[in-house]
């Protein structure tokens, strides 16, 4: 089965979150549940090289290339960041490098979580998105050359 497109997956997530309307607490509870479903990253990968630092939360990210696609695995020391990572992985992992690099991740704002990608220095989530896209761009450059 082919993986649905990035935007199809984003739209699915927006649809799911629309059930919560503006109940921020219910959204965070759902994100917390997602965090429990995302497998922990193996300890050997939780090393400085894979660490993306935020002011308060830490994120570890690794990627593997499979042909023209990138597969991501990630983890965080805070539950809510980890739940958001689960959403990001659902959207981006196993997509074509070219599409990841170009992706417009509009779902984060649409589900009311734009505070995580704003200018507050509180978490590694925004840095993680940048790193995922950067890795995809590097992989794509390698693929086309």
């Amino acid at each position: 089965m082919t993986k649905p497109s990035i935007n199809t997956l984003q739209d699915e997530i927006i649809e799911e979150f629309s059930l919560f309307e503006n109940d921020q607490h219910a959204k965070l509870e759902y994100i917390f549940d997602l965090s429990k479903q995302l497998p922990d990253l193996e300890e050997e990968h939780k090393v400085e090289d894979n660490l993306i630092k935020g002011c308060q939360s830490k994120v570890w990210l690794i990627s593997e290339r499979e042909d023209d696609r990138l597969k991501y695995k990630a983890d965080s020391n805070t539950a809510i960041t980890k739940g958001l990572i689960a959403l990001l992985i659902r959207v981006l992992s196993e997509q074509r490098a070219e599409e990841i690099a170009k992706a417009d991740l509009y779902f984060i704002e649409k589900i009311g979580m734009s505070q995580f990608i704003g200018s507050q220095r509180s978490n590694g989530f925004a840095n993680m998105i940048n790193k995922m896209k950067l890795e995809a761009a590097i992989a794509y450059k390698d693929i086309v050359s």
């Binding site: 503006n22 109940d23 921020q24 607490h25 509870e29 308060q56 805070t78 539950a79 809510i80 509180s122």
Partner: protein, 418 residues
Amino acid sequence: MNSSSVPTETKPKAFDIDRIRAQFPVLHQEVNGQQLVYFDNAATTQKPKVVLDALTDYYQTMNANIHRGVHTLADRATAAFEATRESIRGFINAGEKEEIIFTKGTTDGINLVASSWGRANLQKGDEVIISTLEHHSNIVPWQIICEEKGAVIKVIPVDDNGDLIIEEFNKLLSPKTRLVSVVQVSNALGTINPVKEIIEKAHNAGALVVVDGAQSSSHLTIDVQALDCDFFVFSGHKMYGPTGTGIVYGKRRLLEVMPPYQGGGEMIKEVTFEKTTFNEIPYKFEAGTPNIADIVGLKFAVDFINSLGKENIIAHEEMLLDYAHEKLSSIPGLRFIGTARNKAGVVSFVIEGIHHFDIGMMLDAKGIAIRTGHHCTQPLMARFGIDGTARASFSVYNTTEEIDRLAESLQGIVKMMS
């Protein structure tokens, strides 16, 4: 006697919390569908309407650049600006208003003292004593100047409660000690330090003392002459005043011989390309156009505090702190960080198995604003073997009902997340 004719006893309503809250427009809003609870007062307090009105009034009736204008608006603006200087002098009981220098905030103020006094006075091998409780803004400026001068920083340790170990301070003091810079109330733990004792001992050893009053200025009564501190540095925005306002109090004899640390307009007496002579204190340290409107507004914050009475504010905040300790101690897995003998304003805690970031996010979803993280005190967090805490900090407009909401929400978070 007809009971209805008995005059109602006019009990002095020293502390009418509803009336106080009515003066803070920002408090009357919903956040994430819930009535806002603002417990991030150690970061910055909210501003009463008198302060907000003063800012608008300033711009609408007197906005002009100060000190040099010959026109009426410049006179008005200068008078309002200098009225705040006098008001601050009274607020901390300084001897003279020339000892009050306006800055952007506490960080700016400590940098002023470190750059000016430090550059002129520190020499290789000299020692500067700070403490483990310090905010980064009372660590880094000293590191920068000490590195430049070859001076050495010594650190007073804290015990497990978050109290300074004074015996260790005694041992650190030596003829090499030139300056001691300590916080009066810890922003991360709320510890009230015995600064009077520290100042006496430092003076006996021939050292000067800087007191970081960022937190204490709104929670304690400040008398710089009784303390006999050499410098007292604080912020306006943590005591109901506008952001971008701060104060350095310094003893006249020290300020007069300290070199300016920024050059420009306002701080000069006469400029030629060969040589410039400098203005008198305090203007020598106020280069450029200052933050006039906000400093004008700051006077109204001081008036607000005085109208309530500092002792009433202190009593209310002590009550809230005791109540918070009592209520939060029943939360499963919650551990207080900072259980000093004397505390003000702050309750800092961790909860077993739940990251402070998650606590802060979940509380925000319930409309409760607290601060989480290392509170710009990384060495202190390292001392306690943690990477941060959740911190609720209280102010005059907070209530026990709000603390009840915090405790209930924390119960819910613990139930859900652990």
